[in-house]
Amino acid sequence: MILDRLAREVEALIFASDEPLSIQQLSEFTGSGEDSIQQALERLNTSFLDQQHALTVVDVAGGFRIVTDGEFGSVVSQLFEGKKPGKLSRAALETLAVVAYSQPCTRMTIESIRGVNCDSAIRTLLERDMIRIGGRMETPGRPLLYSTTKAFLEYFGLSNLDHLPRFDEVEELLGMSSAEIEKRDLFGSEEE
C-alpha cells in the first residue's frame, strides 16, 4: 500500500512535533478537513501495521503521537539508562488517583481520602511533573491546590482526563453524601 500525500504530511508533522498534535492542529497545518485527517491517521496506522513497523500513532494527552511498540521497550530503554525515572510508589499512585479525579484539590482532600499524611507523595509527584500547583484555595490558610499535568496523561497513556478509568462513576461517588453511598456500592462486587 502506497501512502497518499496527506497521510505522509500528517506522519511528518506528528513525528517532528514536541507535543501531541490535535486533529484541529493537523487540519490547520495541512489545510484538510478534520474528517480527512481522521482517515489519514487510520491509513497511516494501517500502513505501519502492514509493513510491520515498530511504530504506531496513538491518541494521547489531547493529541496524536508516533510511539514505539511496547515490544521494543527493553531495546529502546538503553538510550535512557540512568535518566529514565523509576516506577511510582503505591503511595504516589494513590495520591495521583485522588488528584486526578478531584482536581484542583488541596492536600487536606487527599489526606482525608487516603487517611495518611501525603507530604512526601505530593513532593515526589511535583518533582516528577505529574502534578502541579494550580493556585490557592481562598479559604483560611489559603492552602495550595494541586492539578495533574499533561505529562501525567502522557505517562499513563491517557488521551484526556475524561478517559481516566471509570471517570463518571467516581465523579458521582465523590459528589455523594455518606447516606447516598450507603445505598450504592459501585465496587462492591470487586474481586481481586
Binding site: D69, G73, R90, V98, G115, F156, L158, S178, I181, D185
Partner: protein, 250 residues
C-alpha cells in the same frame, strides 16, 4: 489467590505493607469476609487493635494515623455496646456511616491506583519522539511565559545557592607586623645623633595596625632604653633619638 497467600502469613504482616489505617482496615475486612455495609464494629475494632498491639511488640514505629484510627474504632465499639437513647425527632445516627464512606472512597481510589499502575506498566515500554528525550535530558526545555511554576522557581533558587556554595571563599589576610621587624626597620632608619619624628617612621597614610605596631615598638625601645623620646605637648609630634645603649646592646 493473592488473598490466600496474605492470609497464611497474616500474623506476621508488618504495618509497612499498608498504605495507612484505611488500607489495613480494608485488608482485615476482606480477610474476615465482612460485608462493608454491615461491619461488626466490635469485631473489626478488636482485630485492628490486635494488629497494632502486635506491631508495637515488634517495636515498629507506628504512624500517628494508625493510632487515631485505633481511637476512633474504640469509640465506635464502646458506642455500639451502649444502649442507645432515642429522642423524638432525632435520627439514630450510626457511627459507622462516616467510616464506611471513607472505606468505600479509599477502596475506589486504591483500585484506580492499581489501574494506573497497569497503565504505567504498559507505557513504560512505549517511547515517543522527541518529547520524552527532551524531558529526560539534562538541559530543560525552554519555558513559555506563564508555564513556570512555583516549584520551578524554588528549584532555580536552590540550584543558585548550590552554585554559590561552590565558589571558593574569599580569604582576607591580615598582614602582621611584628615588634622585631619594626625594631629592625628602625635600626636602619634612626641614625645616631639625628632626631626623627614618629610621623616619618610610620610613613604617609599609615594603616591603623601600622601605627599601633610602631607605637608599641617605640614603647619597647623606651623600656630597653634604646631611644629617647620627646613630645612638646599632648598629641604633638613625638621626636625620637637613638641612644648609645642601642648600639652597645645590639
Amino acid at each position: 489467590m493473592i488473598e490466600k497467600k496474605i492470609y497464611s502469613r497474616s500474623c506476621r504482616i508488618e504495618l509497612d505493607d499498608f498504605e495507612g489505617p484505611l488500607d489495613l482496615l480494608l485488608y482485615l475486612i476482606r480477610r474476615d469476609e465482612i460485608d462493608i455495609y454491615d461491619i461488626p464494629v466490635a469485631h473489626v475494632a478488636d482485630q485492628y487493635l490486635k494488629y497494632i498491639r502486635e506491631a508495637r511488640e515488634l517495636d515498629l514505629d507506628i504512624a500517628s494515623e494508625y493510632l487515631v484510627m485505633a481511637a476512633t474504632l474504640t469509640k465506635m465499639k464502646s458506642r455500639s455496646l451502649l444502649p442507645t437513647h432515642r429522642f423524638d425527632g432525632e435520627e439514630d445516627s450510626d457511627p459507622g456511616t462516616e467510616l464506611r464512606r471513607q472505606l468505600i472512597l479509599y477502596r475506589t481510589f486504591r483500585s484506580i491506583a492499581e489501574e494506573l499502575q497497569r497503565n504505567e506498566e504498559t507505557w513504560t515500554d512505549i517511547y515517543t519522539s522527541p518529547g520524552e528525550r527532551q524531558r529526560w535530558s539534562d538541559d530543560t526545555a525552554e519555558i513559555e511565559p506563564g508555564q513556570a511554576s512555583l516549584l520551578d522557581l524554588l528549584r532555580a533558587l536552590s540550584s543558585l545557592s548550590e552554585e554559590e556554595a561552590e565558589l571558593a571563599p574569599h580569604r582576607i589576610r591580615r598582614t602582621l607586623l611584628t615588634i622585631n621587624e619594626c625594631i629592625n626597620t628602625l635600626d636602619k632608619n634612626i641614625v645616631t645623633g639625628r632626631t626623627i619624628p614618629f610621623g616619618a617612621i610610620v610613613g604617609p597614610e599609615p594603616t591603623r595596625s601600622r601605627i599601633v605596631s610602631y607605637f608599641i615598638t617605640l614603647l619597647e625601645l623606651i623600656r630597653r632604653g634604646w631611644v629617647y623620646c620627646h613630645q612638646a605637648y599632648p598629641f604633638s609630634e613625638i621626636e625620637i633619638q637613638r641612644t648609645e645603649r642601642w648600639n652597645v646592646d645590639s
